[in-house]
């Protein structure tokens, strides 16, 4: 048997690993650019634009600092094997980036675009009180309404989806399979197709121009999907545990509360976050279910700012966008590890 040169093989493997990792990091960086750039742009505009014009030069100057910083971190990640060293390098690069940004664009930044947060009569100040006559609300009113819609529909979705998912997961009943297939079939049709019938139903029950309308509609539209997700989580909780709790003296309801529910907590959080975000960002139904300006939510506020009032003030639009994005973003970042655990339960189960 020929002598094997282990050192040479090791060097070869190391080289392969380095090339593979570099390619991977480069690829991931490139595909994330189109996703991240618009958000970055909006943030930059919201802090830098002055009445009307968009200074794209600021964006390019900021990018001139950020791109080398990202590349430098990529290289540091590839060449430093120890996590502690990587963190140290990352912190150093972050500091340098902040310094670079401050030097290149720092003088251009201002908070004037965020004046809508403290000025209740924004439009009147810009256009004069006569034009819109106090119809346009303060942003916090819209914020409160959006919060109300999102929270109420989330609470209802989570409650109903949890109870329904548990029942479907645990009990055999006539028409169970048909029910499950029905849930899936509903998902095939886009809810916007139902806008007119939904409008009529809401009109007939007298909930038009109230927040209860969008809350109920959003709950109904979201439920099939959420029921399926919760069923998947309940399917993963073994029967034994529930039987054991009941043999230990618990009633079925106590067993559900004390033993089963704590184990589907990731599911509750996932459904809650998704439900909140869909309620928070809803535009179609909140617009369709009001005639005139009976209520404002964040999405209609943003639309009004962008289209009706200040067609040209991109700074203000960008600032409102950032403010609108923030709650979803924070919530998503805080709970993303729960979202990745979601799975759909099968029909059979």
């Amino acid at each position: 048997m020929a002598q094997i040169d282990w050192d040479q093989l090791a060097a070869q493997s190391r080289r392969h690993r380095l090339i593979k990792n570099s390619c991977l990091i480069l690829f991931l960086t490139l595909v994330s650019v189109p996703v991240i750039l618009p958000f970055f742009w909006v943030v930059v505009i919201s802090f830098s634009a002055r009445t009307g014009g968009v200074e794209s030069a600021i964006l390019w100057r900021a990018c001139a600092v950020l791109v080398p910083a990202v590349l430098a971190y990529g290289v540091a990640h590839l060449t430093l094997p120890r996590i502690a060293h990587r963190l140290l390098a990352g912190a150093g690069i972050l500091g340098l980036t902040a310094l670079g940004l401050w030097l290149s664009v720092g003088a251009e930044l201002h908070l004037n675009n965020y004046r809508f947060l403290i000025n209740a009569n924004l439009i009147e100040d810009i256009r004069g009180a006569g034009t819109v006559g106090g119809q346009f609300p303060w942003v916090w009113t819209a914020f409160g309404n959006s919060l109300l819609v999102a929270l109420c529909s989330t609470v209802m979705k989570v409650t109903v989806a949890t109870l329904a998912g548990y029942y479907i997961s645990r009990f055999q009943f006539r028409g169970r399979n048909g029910f499950l297939q029905g849930l899936l079939i509903i998902e095939v049709f886009h809810p916007w197709m139902l806008t007119i019938p939904i409008f009529l139903v809401i009109y007939w029950v007298g909930l038009l121009n109230t927040l209860a309308g969008p809350i109920l509609v959003l709950t109904a539209i979201g439920l099939p999907f959420f029921i399926f997700i919760m069923k998947g989580f309940f399917d993963a909780v073994p029967w034994d545990i529930e039987m054991s709790a009941m043999a230990d003296g618990a009633t079925r309801r106590q067993a559900f509360h004390m033993v089963v529910l704590p184990q589907v907590r990731p599911g509750l959080i996932a459904v809650g976050v998704l439900g909140f975000i869909t309620g928070w960002e809803e535009y179609v139904f909140v617009t369709a279910l009001r005639t005139g300006n009976s209520y404002w939510v964040m999405s209609t506020y943003l639309y009004y700012v962008a289209e009706d009032v200040m067609g040209v003030d991109y700074g203000l639009v960008a600032a409102v966008s950032v403010f609108y994005m923030l709650p979803s973003l924070v919530l998503y970042l805080a709970c993303q590890r729960y979202l990745t655990q979601m799975k759909l339960g099968g029909i059979k189960g």
């Binding site: 073994p238 034994d240 545990i241 039987m243 054991s244 009941m246 230990d248 003296g249 004390m258």
Partner: protein, 344 residues
Amino acid sequence: MAEVELRNLRKDWDTATAVDDVSIKIENGEFLAILGPSGCGKSTTLFMLAGVYLPTSGDIMFDGARVNDVEARLRNVGIVFQSYALYPNMSVLQNILFPTRFQKTDDAQARAHEMAELVQITDLLGRRPSELSGGQQQRVALARALIKRPNLLLLDEPLSNLDATLRLSMRAEIRRITRELGVTTILVTHDQLEATTMADRVMCMNKGRIEQVGSAADLYLRPDTLFVAGFIGSPPINLIPPDRDVLSLPDRCHTLGLRPEALRVSEVGMPATVLSVEPMGREAMMTVDTPLGDLRFIEATAQPKYRPRDLLRLTFDNADTILFDAKGQRIPEAHATLKETAYA
């Protein structure tokens, strides 16, 4: 502690009968094992005793009172599941205390520690179930099942998730604990060794019916049916259609049972050719070709003397033969004898 009785118990599912006409009386403090292959209805019987399933017909009696309609949580039965079914969101101590949350118990904490001491897990009380080994989880499950001083302790394949060494020690351990407490215990298992080593009596089930109830020795030496004969014993019994040219036995005998260890080498006997030898540690199992057919034969030695194609002569005591009729029932007090023609 209770005396438990099943009367003509039956459970039908949509497509099949899981338990069919099971009647047995279990004495106060007795340890009964229900033994059978998977799907024989043993777990269904257990869950009916626990109150999880409702029987289709028949009665379940605790101390002479019918408990069919009593809910599981009110029966005061402790169960240890095969999966242990510990509550992952609670610590070991909380797990053990769980049953006391539904009863008026003044000394719950003291009792929990007493139970932890009994099953020797006092140093694990603060941990989560996921941080425990299989054997430790088993002990926690046992402590939880015992803390409410159950009328009846049910063990559903409690040892099958443990490795072989641990199984051996837990077997003795569970036996010690149930004896110490004097609790009536029913063990469900498909492992004959588990059943025969732990239980006072073994109830062997097949296809929802009781095949035989008796001591380990009864089942081994005097199996009532062909099924019991074939199920109990490892390596399994030789079951052969008798050749009346070489055997003299009653006319109605349809199958002859002969345990592998009943055969022995002798000067005078039927000729046998060794086909294969499988060393099993303490002994060796051989397959031999004889006038009766191919037989399993155990040679009680760690170092096998014979090799394939060796010739030897085998004989057996007539009393060791077990005869079955055409229905698979044992023919009592009947035995087979080798004829002279077999020696040729």
